[in-house]
Symmetry: C2
Subunit: 300 residues, 2 copies
């Protein structure tokens, strides 16, 4: 076990998919991440909510090994996102976004959290992510998420961040956009040239690719037969990944490979129902069982 920190959004989501509607449910990158990671390792969460944030949502997290001393309650309303998925549900159509208190979020890392050894910077402005890193005392492994918005609108700031983190997780389109390389292997190598030693490229239903100092690792997606709501898949992936790494305590190529597989498997549960519903029904033993199935799925 290690000390694992996540900084990111805590949200109230309203989701529509071909399988139904889920209005005003628990969401946010830091929420999916920390719930997913908490199967493996205790988690420290830094985020902000408004006065309207339901006590019940907080209780769901507090009931896990998730330390909420960094969850600020500010004046105003909680971040709200509303989205819809259609057809094969490959991407969400955003129906509305209200940043509310998350719009002015300047994460203050509690003193008690500053010795965290594993740090996940959920998707956010690169300057804000860098501001978090500046508050930390020599973390062992820092991983940042990003998105197309930051690549196009705040590229200089993102490039600055990339020199400071150990790892970056991004999707295939973002890797191509960031580097101008259409070949994903070349794109992954080019991202490494920008700073991070560990580059994890998510290809959605096509799996993931790891580019690190030891070379390449490729994994197909989990062979999911039932997808109800893809929301939170990426953050659950990161949560399972960082949770497993923190539990192991050491970032080796072999651990990273298994961490990516654990992230894949954890996310495969998330998408089987809305919000945290499916994750709330399972135990680490369920994740481990599916990990073994997945390992046999890819065994060559």
């Amino acid at each position: 076990m290690s000390k694992l920190l996540v900084v990111g959004s805590v949200a109230i989501d309203s989701i529509e998919t071909p399988h139904g509607k889920a209005p005003n449910v628990q969401g946010g990158s830091a929420v999916y991440f920390s719930y997913a990671a908490s199967f493996f390792n205790p988690v420290r969460l830094v985020g902000v909510v408004g006065q309207d944030f339901p006590k019940a949502f907080e209780d769901v997290l507090a009931a896990r090994k998730i330390d909420l001393r960094g969850l600020e309650r500010a004046d105003g309303k909680t971040f709200r996102w509303s989205g819809r998925y259609e057809g094969a549900m490959n991407s969400a159509e955003t129906l509305s976004v209200e940043l509310n208190v998350f719009g002015n979020f300047e994460p203050k890392i509690p003193q008690a959290f500053r010795d965290s050894q594993f740090v996940f910077l959920a998707n956010g402005g690169p300057d804000t992510q860098r501001h978090v890193l500046e508050q930390m005392r020599k973390p062992r492994f820092t991983l940042a998420d990003t998105m197309n918005l930051w690549i196009s609108e705040t590229r200089p700031q993102l490039l600055k961040l990339l020199k400071l983190v150990d790892g970056i997780v991004l999707n295939d389109g973002e890797a191509r956009m960031l580097t101008g390389e259409s070949n994903l292997i070349k794109a992954g190598r080019a991202v490494r040239q920008l700073g991070p030693n560990t580059v994890i490229i998510k290809k959605g239903e096509h799996g993931s690719l790891l580019v690190d100092k030891d070379g390449l690792f490729g994994l197909p997606a989990y062979p999911a037969e039932r997808v109800v709501d893809p929301t939170g898949a990426g953050d659950s992936f990161a949560g399972g990944l960082m949770g497993y790494l923190a539990r192991q305590g050491k970032v080796t190529d072999a651990n990273l490979r298994r961490a990516i597989a654990y992230g894949t498997v954890t996310a495969s549960f998330t998408i089987e129902d809305f919000s945290l519903n499916r994750l709330r029904q399972i135990k680490l033993a369920d994740i481990q069982r599916r990990f073994r199935e997945f390992r046999s799925f890819v065994r060559l």
Copy 2:
């Protein structure tokens, strides 16, 4: 070693890709298949060419362990295909097709070939494929390729064929089209319900999926950094796959997994240059070296 037969097209191709042009080069499904398979096991080829077919093209095949006693030379011209790939080269735009002698091809399997244990029916009309099977004496493992045209235009005939073959290889779009299932795992299972015990779904740059009686196997694509011409990738994949299986002599789940990996790796050479150019430069040891790299790429 076993007796391995392929029935398919022998063509003269003219190709344009972003990397250049290759007019009037050696092509055709049976040609790519048999060259790829010949690294692993001797091959028997049944096909047809016209009076214009260059002796040099025949020599390239005869120099390998490819038995050409089933290569018919008919009155008329050889099958010609001209195509262009653009951008990421995910699909070919057909510029022209002249079926010529291949249009009336009614494969006659030489008596000496009828005891073949492993049979690959390259893409072709399902009635023609069935006609081949009817000439064979109890083959051990028959694998058919197909395409969208046969699924939409000759579905009843294709369904009849599917009840007779041991395996089918098709791409993700074709699997969805054949079964009406958008989820690829469900589609694979639905194809098995139509007859073939072994279903191999090719996902192009996203790898492949095996659905067989023992369950599921998923493999990402080979992490290719240089693609010059994708022509023949599918038939080289099938060639490496069937060549390896024939060499092993037994179709087990473990052999099928490795066969799919060998197919993947063999095809990864094909696409590095036009026509058979790259395959003609390599030896089995090169394929085996790349297989080991690929196995380490997916090792979990």
